[in-house]
Amino acid sequence: MSSVVGTALTQRFGSEVALDGVDLAVDAGEHLAVLGENGAGKTTLLRILATAARPTSGTLEIFGLDAMVERRRLRARIGYVAHAPGLYPALSAAENLAFFCTLQGVDRGRVAEVLDLVGLAELSGRLAAKLSRGAQQRLSIGRAVLHDPKLLVLDEPDASLDSAGPELLARIMRGRTAVIATHDHALANRLCQRTVELRRGRVAGVPTRLRVIH
C-alpha cells in the first residue's frame, strides 16, 4: 500500500518551471532518497510532499487522503525538516520545543524525550542562537518528531550534522515512512531503500532500488 502517491506534480512560479510532471510513490515504511544537483527542484518537491506548498498542477495523495483538501489533518501526521532551521534564536532549545508542543497540542513531557533522542539533553537551556550549526540542525530534527509523525520529509538534514548524524537520522527514520533529499549518495545508500533523481525539475532515469545495507 502506498503511503504517498504524487502524480504529474508541477510547480511553476510565473514563467519559471521548478517541477515538471514528477511522478512519485512511496510505500508505507519505505525510505526514499531524492537526489539531484542544487536547483534541480528537490526543495520544491519536498515542500509539496510536506503540504507546505501547493503544486500548480498534479495530484498528491498521502495516507489515502487528498493532500490539497485534507491539509490540516495530514499535517498532524507529517514531520518536516526544512532547508533552513527556522528556530527562535532568543529562546533556549527546550523553550523552542515547548512552544511547538503547544502548537502541536502534545504533552510538554515530549520535550525531554525528544532532547534525549537527538542528543541535546545537556544543551536544553542553551539559547538557540548560541548552539552550533550541528546542534541547531538536531533541534530542528527533534522538532519535526515531537508529534510522532508517520511521514517524515527531510530536506538535506545531513548538511550540518557531524559524523554521528547518519546514526541519528537512521534512529528517527525507523518505523516511519520517509522522504529525504540529499547530495550524499553514500548516506542515501545507508538510510534508504530507493532513490529518485531530479534533474531540472524532472525525474531523471528510472527510480533505482538500492541494496539494503544494515
Binding site: F13, E16, V17, A53, T56
Partner: protein, 233 residues
C-alpha cells in the same frame, strides 16, 4: 467574447460617448452659478461611479477567487482594477480642473476628494502587490485580500472625513437640485460611461487571458537556484 463582437462593442462605446458629449454640450443648459465649467460635472461624476463599479468587480472577483480558486474570477478582478484605476484618475483630474475656478484651489480635503484619492492609492497598491508577489496563486490571493479591505475602506474613509468635517466646517460642495434637463444629460452620460467601462473591462479581460496563456506556453526554463538555497517558497 469573440474579437468581432469586441470590436463592434468598442465601436458602439465610442459612438455612445459621442452621443453623451452631444447631450452634455448641446442639450444640457448652462449652469447659472458656475457657468460652462459646470459641464465637467457630468463626466466627472459618471467616471466616479464607473470607478466604484469597477472596484465592486474587483471585490467580487477577489471573493470568488478566495472561495473557489477560479482563474476567471481572478482575471476579471485584474481587468476591473486596471480599468478602475483609469477611471479614478479621470475623476481626480476632472475634479481638480473643476475645483480651481469654482473654489479657487485645486485641492481640498473634503470627504469625496479624499476618498477618491484613497481609492486611487488602493488600486495602485493592488496592482503593485500583483506585480511584486510570486506570480500565480500568491499574487492572486494577496490581491484579493487587498481588494476586499480596500472596498470596505473607501466608504469608511468617506464617513470618517465627513464626521471630521462636522467638527471643522469646510468648503461646501455645491449640491443644488438639478433641473430636469441636466438630470437627463447626466443619466445619459452615466449610462454611456458605464457601457464604456464594461467594454474596457472586456477588452482588458481578453488581454489578461492572453497574458496567462503566454506564461503557460513556456517550455522548461532554467530553474532558479534559489529554490535550493532555502528561500521560503
Amino acid at each position: 467574447m469573440t474579437s468581432r463582437r469586441l470590436e463592434t462593442a468598442a465601436a458602439a462605446a465610442v459612438a455612445l460617448m459621442l452621443v453623451a458629449a452631444g447631450f452634455i454640450f448641446l442639450y444640457a443648459p448652462t449652469d447659472a452659478l458656475q457657468g460652462p465649467v459646470q459641464r465637467i460635472f457630468y463626466l466627472h461624476v459618471s467616471s466616479a461611479i464607473a470607478a466604484y463599479g469597477c472596484f465592486a468587480i474587483v471585490l467580487l472577483g477577489g471573493i470568488v477567487y478566495l472561495w473557489k480558486e477560479n482563474a476567471t474570477a481572478d482575471r476579471l478582478a485584474r481587468a476591473g482594477a486596471v480599468v478602475g484605476l483609469v477611471f479614478t484618475t479621470v475623476t481626480l483630474v476632472m475634479g481638480m480642473i473643476w475645483a480651481k475656478p469654482i473654489w479657487g484651489t485645486f485641492w481640498t480635503w473634503d470627504a469625496r476628494l479624499t476618498s477618491t484619492l484613497v481609492l486611487w492609492i488602493i488600486y495602485a497598491g493592488y496592482l503593485m502587490i500583483r506585480r511584486l508577489a510570486e506570480p500565480g496563486r500568491q499574487a492572486a490571493r494577496f490581491a484579493a485580500v487587498v481588494g476586499i479591505f480596500g472596498f470596505i475602506d473607501v466608504p469608511v474613509v468617506h464617513f470618517s472625513v465627513t464626521w471630521w468635517r462636522t467638527q471643522h466646517p469646510g468648503p461646501v460642495v455645491i449640491n443644488d437640485a438639478l433641473p430636469s434637463q441636466m438630470l437627463v444629460a447626466f443619466f445619459v452620460t452615466m449610462a454611456c460611461t458605464l457601457f464604456l467601462a464594461a467594454v474596457m473591462i472586456a477588452i482588458r479581460y481578453r488581454i489578461e487571458v492572453l497574458i496567462d496563456q503566454a506564461a503557460e506556453r513556456v517550455v522548461l526554463a532554467p530553474i532558479i537556484a534559489s529554490s535550493e538555497a532555502g528561500t521560503a517558497r
